[in-house]
Amino acid sequence: MAEIQIKNVAKRFGEYQALSDINLTIADQEFMVLLGASGCGKTTLLRIIAGLETQSTGEVWIGDKRVDHLPPKDRGIAMVFQNYAVFPHLTVFENIGFGLRMQKLPNDEVTRRVQRTAELMHIEQLLKRYSGELSGGQRQRVAVARALAMEPDVILMDEPLSNLDALLRLEMRAELKGVLAESKTTAIYVTHDQVEAMSLADRISVMHQGRIVQAATPVEVYRNPAERFVAGFIGNPPMNFVTARPEGKGRWNVAGQSFDGPASDAGALEFAIRPEDLTPAEAGLRATAKVVEPLGAHLLVTCEVDGALFRAVLDSDLVVKPEDSLTLAPMPDRVRWFDPETTKAVAV
C-alpha cells in the first residue's frame, strides 16, 4: 500500500517561488503524470517527493509514514532520471543489482531479481556490457530495470523518454505502461509532452507557475479544463476562445450569434470550443478561412472569427480555400465557458 499525500507543500529558491500550495493525493498503484511547460515546478515537486530537494513548508506522506524529513533511501522510492544516470563503472548486471546489493540481499536473490527485471525490459543479452557500450534506448531500459528491481512502493520518473528519438519513444511509452501496470507500483511521471501524459496517465496533474491547476483523468482534463490555461495547453491544436457578451437570462452573444450559456452576471465570458468539435452547417459562427492544411486524416483550417484566431479540424473531403467564408456549428455539449477575470471554468 503506497498512497502518496502531499500536503501544503511550497518551495522557494531565494526570492523565487518555485512551488506554492501543492495539495495532491495519489492513490495506491495509480499512474500520476505531472504535466507542464518547463519551469512550472513539476521536476521540483518530483525531487521533493524523492527527497533530493527539501520543501520549504509542507508535508509528504508515503503510505502511512511521513517521509519529508527522511533521506531518499528510506522513502521506499526508486527513480528514473532524464539522462538515465547509469553507472559507467559497473556492468548492466551490477547496475540493476546496485540497489539490491545495498540492501545486502543474498547473491542468488540479487541474480534472480536482476534476471527477471532484465527479461521484463528485454535487456537480458546486455547484462555483461558497460554503459558506454549501450545505445540511448538500451540505457533507458537499464535505468527502468534498475528502478523496478528495487520493487519500490513508488517509482518516480523525470522525463524518462525525452532523450529518445520519436520512434523509440513511442515504443518505450507503450512498453513502460504495460510494465508498470504489471508491477503494481504507484508511479509519478514528469513530462512536458501532453501526448505522453494522455497516453500513460490514470490521472494528470497539470502544473502552471508552481501550482497544480487541475488534477483529473486525461479525458476530464481534455473535455473539462478547470482553467483557461489547461484549455489552451492541452490538445493540439488547443481550444479556441472567443469573447462572449451577455444578452441576459443565460444567453450570450458570440461573434454575432446567440448561444445558451451560464447564468452568470459577469460583464464578459470566454466561449471555448475544441477545433474538432466544429462542423460546417447552415447556422453557426461565421469564419473566414486563412490557412488550409490538409493533414490526410482531416483538414486543419485556421480562420478568423470576430477578429480572433480560430482553428477547425474538418472532414478531409471538404474543399476549402483561403478567404472562403465558412459557417461553423459548435457541438452544443462540447462548448465550455471561462471567466476572463478568474480564468476559471464557469459551469452552465
Binding site: G51, L52, K73, M79, H89, M102, M150
Partner: protein, 278 residues
C-alpha cells in the same frame, strides 16, 4: 590549368608536412637531446666525460652511479625525498579532494573568491617565504623534519590538486550520485561506491603530480633542511664541488624517477588537462 592548381595545392601540402615534421622533430629534440647527453655522460667513465670530441654511444661504465650508490648520505637523502614526497602526496590529496568536491557540488558564499585565492598562493615567490618560514619552523621545531618540508610542498601542490580534483568531480554528473541515493546509499556510500571508483584514476594522477612537485622542489628543501636533506637539496649541495661526471650522474638520478612517474600516469595527466589522448 587544373594540373597547375593541383600541383600548387600538392606543393603547399607537402610544404606544410615538412614544417609539421620539422616542428615535431625540433620539439622532441628539445626534450630528448639533453636527456640523451645526461644518459651517455652518466654511463661514461670520468675520462670519457671530460674528453673531446664526445662519443654518441654510451660506454656502459657504471662507475659514477656506483660512486653515488656508495656515497655517504646518498641513500638517506633518497629515503628523505621519497618520504617527503609521499607525505606531500597524501596531505595534498586529503586536503584537496574534499575542497575540489565542495567546489564542484555546493554553492557557498565566496566560492569564486576561493577559487581565485587558491591560485594566489602561487603568486608569492618561494624565496620570499622560505626565510620567514625557516625562522618559524625553527621556533616550532618543524625545521629539518620530513613533516615540516612536506607541509611546504603540500602548500605548493594544493592549488593544482584542488583545481584538478574540482574539474574531475565536475566531470561526474550529479545525477549519478542522486541515483545512488535513491538506490539505498547515504551521501558517504554514494561517494565510495559511485564517485570514488569513477574518480580514482584522476585522483591517482593528481597524487602523483603532487609527488613529482615535491620530488623536484629544491629551494625550500635546501633552506629548511640540514641533516635530513632530500635528494635534490643533497645533490645541489654536493654537486657544486663535484667533478663533471658526478654532476651528470646526479642529474640523471634526479630526472629518471620523475620521468618514470610522469610516464606511468601520462594518460591521466592528459585527461586531467582536457587533452584527448589519441
Amino acid at each position: 590549368m587544373t594540373a597547375v592548381t593541383t600541383d600548387t595545392a600538392g606543393d603547399t601540402r607537402r610544404a606544410g608536412r615538412y614544417v609539421y615534421l620539422a616542428s615535431v622533430t625540433l620539439l622532441c629534440a628539445w626534450v630528448l637531446v639533453p636527456l640523451y647527453f645526461l644518459l651517455i655522460n652518466t654511463l661514461s667513465s670520468p675520462e670519457a666525460v671530460n674528453a673531446f670530441p664526445k662519443s654518441f654511444i654510451p660506454e656502459f661504465d657504471l662507475g659514477s652511479l656506483t660512486f653515488f650508490a656508495n656515497f655517504a648520505g646518498m641513500l638517506s637523502a633518497l629515503k628523505n625525498s621519497i618520504l617527503v614526497a609521499g607525505v606531500t602526496m597524501i596531505l595534498s590529496i586529503t586536503i584537496s579532494a574534499p575542497a575540489g568536491y565542495a567546489l564542484s557540488r555546493f554553492d557557498f558564499p565566496g566560492k569564486e573568491l576561493f577559487r581565485l585565492l587558491i591560485l594566489l598562493t602561487r603568486a608569492f615567490p618561494l624565496p620570499l617565504l622560505a626565510l620567514p618560514l625557516a625562522v618559524m619552523f625553527i621556533r616550532t621545531g618543524l625545521d629539518d623534519t620530513v613533516l615540516g618540508l612536506a607541509l611546504v610542498h603540500t602548500t605548493l601542490a594544493i592549488p593544482f590538486a584542488v583545481l584538478i580534483t574540482f574539474s574531475l568531480f565536475s566531470g561526474i554528473p550529479v545525477e549519478l550520485e542522486e541515483a545512488a541515493w535513491t538506490l539505498g546509499c547515504t551521501r558517504l556510500t554514494a561517494f565510495t561506491k559511485v564517485v570514488l571508483p569513477l574518480i580514482l584514476p584522476g585522483i591517482t594522477a593528481s597524487a602523483i603530480f603532487a609527488f613529482v612537485i615535491s620530488w623536484n622542489e629544491v629551494f625550500a628543501a635546501a633552506v629548511l633542511t640540514i641533516e635530513n636533506r632530500t635528494l635534490t637539496a643533497f645533490l645541489l649541495q654536493n654537486l657544486d664541488t663535484s667533478p663533471l661526471h658526478l654532476k651528470f650522474a646526479g642529474g640523471f638520478i634526479l630526472v629518471v624517477p620523475a620521468l618514470i612517474f610522469i610516464f606511468a600516469v601520462r594518460k591521466y595527466l592528459f585527461a586531467m588537462w582536457g587533452i584527448a589522448n589519441r
